[in-house]
Amino acid sequence: MDKKISVKVCLGTTCFVMGSANLQELIDTVPAKYGDKVDVSGVPCLGLCSIDWEFSKAPYVKVDDEVIKEATVEKVLKAIDEKLK
């Protein structure tokens, strides 16, 4: 596979207080597990909570184009595994 998978962790206010602060370990564990096949970074805001505010499922993480709601480290790793299959 040539193309890198991109993982974007939303660090906007809502996501941060709803738990993206706890996703820091992705920055360390993902490169250790997948090498350079996956690229993890924070983004200032994915803009998802303001669209979906009534049913906000923050924190949001984007794995390529797939939005992961109420993201946890496990959910994100699972999504990466799916993509790499």
Binding site: L11, G12, T13, A21, Q24, P44, S50, S56
Partner: protein
């Protein structure tokens, strides 16, 4: 011109209150600054009360514009009570009323004469003496001067000029002459020194020449520095009307000075309108706040409300050396003289979901409080524009 003003103080040895009192107020609309330094008789709580009353009353008189500085000072001089024990007046004071164009009026009663330094030389301005009608031993000096870019004014209490008095090396204390030597040396070494550093330097030097480094009197130094303003802009929150995004982004781009963006959505907006890509730091959070990101041409990019709330807390508590996004924003603010806020009025409903584990403040309120702290505690010139 911007007037960089700060005061540094030290208590008399073994006292738990300052006997000198400094107050200052900036009037951005009038491009004006009023400051008063008062030295209360004696030391400790008693002196603190006397000097505090004198300084705040004078400031109040002058700043409400009801009474010109000269008359205000005269009233205070004529009405200050006399100490029963020492038979001298309860407090002494220096007051300055100055404008950004360099025009300044200064009155002094009892305090050491102020020092005016231009291009490394001490100026000797003319003054008028006003004798008190009620007390023979009281007279005040009134100065009307015109300041230029780069000028400095130094006011101090007699704790500075009399430091070292009776000690080994300086039997008569530092005196005005000794102080001038110190000031000139410091300026030769660092011509651009900020008022806050300069005031700290004076106070520390005065303490150092006291026997055993124990101040025998309260020591205060107030410094004014007339210089080019350092401008800064903080853009936070998306504009209420989305169709105006471009216009405001352009204003942000055209601003001359340092720039900061506080807010994820806001950063995205500027990035989109001005086609500047955003790069994130390689961490997610530092010190319980989201990490900063980077954009070319922008000096600081942070998350919004959480960082602003923390920044306000640091500014209020005087915690100035923290290595996280809020700490960086504090440094950004304090390194500037004139701070403009562009505050977007659009709210993100998701922030007010009761399910959120912490309460999120309304942006406008935080900025209002921050503007007040910056103005009152750090003597910055602040203006806020809502969009």
């Amino acid at each position: 011109m911007f007037i960089d003003i700060d005061c540094s103080q030290m208590k008399k040895y073994n006292q738990n209150a300052y006997g000198d009192y400094f107050v200052s107020k900036r009037y951005p609309d009038e491009a004006r600054l009023v400051a008063v330094l008062s030295d209360g008789l004696g030391s400790g709580i008693k002196a603190n009360i006397l000097s505090c009353m004198t300084a705040t009353m004078l400031l109040q008189f002058i700043s409400n514009d009801q009474i010109p500085i000269r008359q205000a000072a005269e009233i205070v001089m004529n009405s200050l009570p006399v100490c029963k024990v020492r038979h001298i007046s309860y407090s002494t004071f220096s007051a300055i009323d100055c404008y950004d164009d360099g025009n300044a009026k200064i009155v002094e009663e009892g305090n050491p004469e102020f020092i005016w330094i231009r291009d490394g030389e001490v100026m000797t301005p003319p003054y008028e003496t006003i004798q008190s009608k009620t007390f023979k031993n009281r007279r005040m000096k009134v100065y009307k001067i015109k300041l230029k870019l780069g000028d400095r004014l130094i006011f101090c209490s007699d704790g500075v000029t009399q430091s070292g008095l009776g000690g080994g090396r300086l039997k008569l204390g530092l005196r005005r002459e000794g102080l001038i030597v110190l000031l000139k040396d410091k300026l030769a070494e660092n011509p651009e020194v900020s008022s806050s550093e300069f005031a700290n330097y004076i106070v520390n030097q005065a303490r150092n020449i006291e026997t055993d480094r124990k101040p025998k009197d309260d020591i205060s130094a107030c410094v004014l520095y007339f210089r080019e303003p350092r401008e800064a802009l903080i853009f936070t929150g998306p504009p209420f009307h989305q169709q105006k995004d471009k216009e405001y982004a352009q204003m942000f781009q055209n601003f001359k000075g340092k720039k900061a963006i506080c807010g994820g959505t806001t950063a995205n907006l500027i990035s989109r309108e001005l086609s500047i890509p955003i790069r994130m730091d390689s961490t997610i959070s530092v010190g319980k706040l989201p990490a900063i990101s980077y954009m070319d041409g922008v000096d600081l990019v942070t998350e919004g409300i959480l960082t602003l709330t923390k920044t306000l807390e640091y500014l209020e508590n005087g915690t100035l050396d923290i290595d996280n996004a809020a700490g960086k924003l504090v440094k950004f603010l304090l390194d500037s003289d004139c701070i403009h806020f562009m505050v977007g009025a659009k709210l993100n409903q998701a922030h007010y979901d009761p399910a959120l584990p912490i309460e999120i403040e309304i942006r406008k309120n935080i900025i209002k409080k921050m503007a007040n702290v910056l103005q009152d505690k750090y003597f910055k010139k602040v203006d806020v524009q809502y969009m």
